[in-house]
């Protein structure tokens, strides 16, 4: 932990509400500790704005541990900033250079309208899950957990897909604003487990239909989503979902 102090210039998207046009504002940040997280720098900025009688910047965040999926800043043209596999809240100032200008915007996608400043509405994701991202088992129905052994390999793959944090960086990264990576992660997790096979057909059809209805774009296989996903969700999931979808369509 060798702390240094750097100066950076922030260009931050400010937008009063959904109807406002929005614009960039510039803020000079002096003496930023390299041990600070990116969001702690925003805390410092906001404290300053409040003391100056100005409106602080609204941004989403909660766990600050890279797991809740709430933080969502588009930094220098990349969702969650320059590092691979790292959320905005886990990004630290040691990843930036002294004198650098940093541009910060909200996620931009038709399905994610801006609410204020850097805060967007991602409830479309919840609606896609409600359309089929579950196994229909009521509380009390379950058998002993060890009745169905699951090959470790499948269990591990299902787990890897299940680590998606629902942040929406994949959508923000995609030029078509497609949600394929997010949706395919859930479809894959459940398709890989025997418990999930029972409803596999309906699940993929319903989730894909909902995804389209929510104004997410088409997937043209650019792979930007995988590159920007903070949890390393793999494109393999999209391939698996495409197979599931084809088979499901044949069955119906």
């Amino acid at each position: 932990m060798s702390e240094k102090k750097i100066n950076v210039t922030l260009k931050v998207w400010r937008q009063k509400n959904a109807n406002d046009q929005g614009r960039f504002e510039t803020y000079d940040m002096k003496g930023v500790s390299t041990d600070m997280s990116f969001l702690e720098m925003f805390d410092v900025l906001n404290e300053r704005l409040i003391n100056e009688g100005k409106e602080p910047v609204a941004f989403d965040h909660d766990c600050r541990e890279g797991i809740c999926g709430m933080c969502s800043m588009y930094i220098n043209g990349r969702p969650h900033g320059p590092l691979r596999g790292v959320t905005t809240c886990q990004l630290h100032m040691r990843s930036f250079n002294d004198g650098e200008t940093i541009v910060v915007e909200p996620w931009r996608a038709k399905a994610f309208p801006v609410i204020k400043d850097l805060v967007v509405d991602r409830s479309a994701f919840d609606r896609v899950i409600a359309a089929g991202g579950f196994i229909s088992v009521n509380t009390g129905n379950a058998q002993d957990g060890n009745t169905i052994p699951i090959p470790k390999e499948n269990a591990d793959k299902a787990f890897a897909a299940a680590t998606c944090i629902g942040c929406g960086a994949c959508v923000a990264a995609c030029k078509n604003a497609s949600a394929m990576l997010f949706v395919s992660a859930k479809v894959s997790q459940l398709a890989l487990l025997p418990q999930g096979r029972v409803e596999a057909t309906d699940r993929v059809l319903n989730m894909v239909a909902k995804m389209d209805e929510e104004n997410f774009g088409n997937c043209t296989n650019t792979g930007a989503c995988e590159a920007e996903c903070p949890k390393g969700i793999s494109l393999e999931n999209i391939a698996r979902m495409n197979r599931e979808f084809l088979v499901a369509n044949l069955k119906k």
Partner: protein, 667 residues
Amino acid sequence: MSKLDAKIPEGPLAEKWTKYRSTVPLVNPANKRSLEIIIVGSGLAGASAAASLAELGYKVKVFCFQDSPRRAHSIAAQGGINAAKNYQNDGDSVYRLFYDTIKGGDYRAREANVYRLASVSANIIDQCVAQGVPFAREYGGYLSNRSFGGTQVQRTFYAAGQTGQQLLLGAYSALQRQVGLGTVKMYARHEMLEIVKIEGKARGIIARNLVTGKLERHFGHAVLLASGGYGNVFFLSTNAMGSNVTAAWKAHKQGAFFGNPCFTQIHPTCIPVSGDHQSKLTLMSESLRNDGRIWVPKKIEDAKAIREGKLKPNDIKEEDRDYYLERRYPAFGNLVPRDVASRAAKERCDAGYGVNATGEAVFLDFAYNMKEKYGRAEATKRGITNPTEAQLKELGKAVVAEKYGNLFDMYKQITGVDPYEEPMQIYPAVHYTMGGLWVDYNLMTTVPGLYALGEANFSDHGANRLGASALMQGLADGYFVIPYTIGAYLANEIRTKAIPTDHPAFVEAEKNVQESIDKLLSIKGTKSVDSFHKRLGKIMWDKCGMARNAEGLKQAIQEIKALREEFWKDVRVPGTANELNPELEKAGRVADFLELGELMCVDALHRNESCGGHFREEYQTEDGEALRDDENYAYVAAWEMKEVGNWELHKEELKYENIKIAQRSYK
């Protein structure tokens, strides 16, 4: 002062719950459809309750302040969830889990509740597996377990270092399924700001739509609070930034007693504070103590040299390291309960052996087990007979990465130090609150129709929670307890028609909320909300933290009162009420923390003993262990608010009929 009735069913311990379940009044399906339930919170407790109650046919409304129910703070839980499955054939049983929990809680939890918790623990795992929760598995395809502190069996189920995430996503899926079916209506980005009481019963809430700022009235035949814990009263804690006490505190002000508010858990393994800008602390899961060994240098001059950067931890020879937990507690070693481990770290650092610039850090070192335990095992598996040091390390590293990879990455990301190469630095931090709204066996507070679930209630962990037991409790409450116990109340409510929200009680409640929002915005003082929160946090940490004494607590009470007064005169809340306004949200929460903090100190001051997480310096044994006073303090302290700053104490006597109360020893 009155004595509280916990409504514990009669009969032998092991039969209480079974008997209760088969005799509790039922509500028939047709009637369920006209009964409405409000649930505040979508964490493990709230989401599991919502899904289960909706499956039963009730009409459910769920509220959370995040943008999606999936983001509740439960998502951040790392290490695992306990269950008495005995899959390892290592002697586990419902009784043993019950016993460990009561003992771990330093004999300040209610036997009947804890036994029920242990009995339903196995069902939780089954339910989660059925939902598709991808728990860790062995090569044979069966579920894997690991150890946690305060136990000698392996009963912890886990999903790498993200168990909470996987369990919550399971519960969230179940919840979203009901949302899709139209049986649950979800209100994300909504904050509950008041309980509405009609004729003494909880009948609804006032919530603020955080996007538009509009206040809304919602009716329910019953109201469930699953709003989480209040560790953020300390400003710095491992809780998510938004975690707060507001929902529970509004209930408290409406007559719900607050149980054992001073019982806070300080977790031994967190990343130390790095500077003034620090906004929160990050936990390094307790599961790491399975394989990480905790130490500080034996020689004070070595500690000093490390602090000054003149020596590196790897320069300290084996014989010059003090593995103080292994030394003091040979039976449990690095796996002693959290309160014990935290105090031991503080003891070493206070004595001058701390290892970072602030002097407040100890080492958590994986080198030994990486090489000797895992490296050797892998080498043997592969038939490498004389593995080199480098081979051992490489092989062991792969195993450690599989077990704890995400935690190691997180550590590196935050500190810039690679824990595969150098030991982690850790220090205790506020993590969990055992205290909370007092509830009876039915999980009902002292306000009829108002329930508390999960971390928001005080119920099962006594004065110290064992690792991997909060997830268990949250899901037990939501999946397996409340669906039964709520019937006892609602069976008598089937004739109550939905009350229109223009009822004077709703109008009045909304008016009060509006006034306090207007007041916060009108002060236009000079200091930010955060600045007050930080000052409160410092008072709490210094005087009501890991160690407490009467003198300090008395000072803290005066300081908090003064700070509260200053807050209401000088806080600056920018923006308006009719928009997304995070500063306004924070202001309301900090206002409540400023009242709660005082009650915590009052409670800590009245409890003239040390137990679990509550360590009063005046009450310790000769070798520095907590000294309980069972004669005078074997009760739950449930506080009734008379007015802000004035509380009356009520007691629930704790009777131990199945466990012999003893001094807790982990030696």
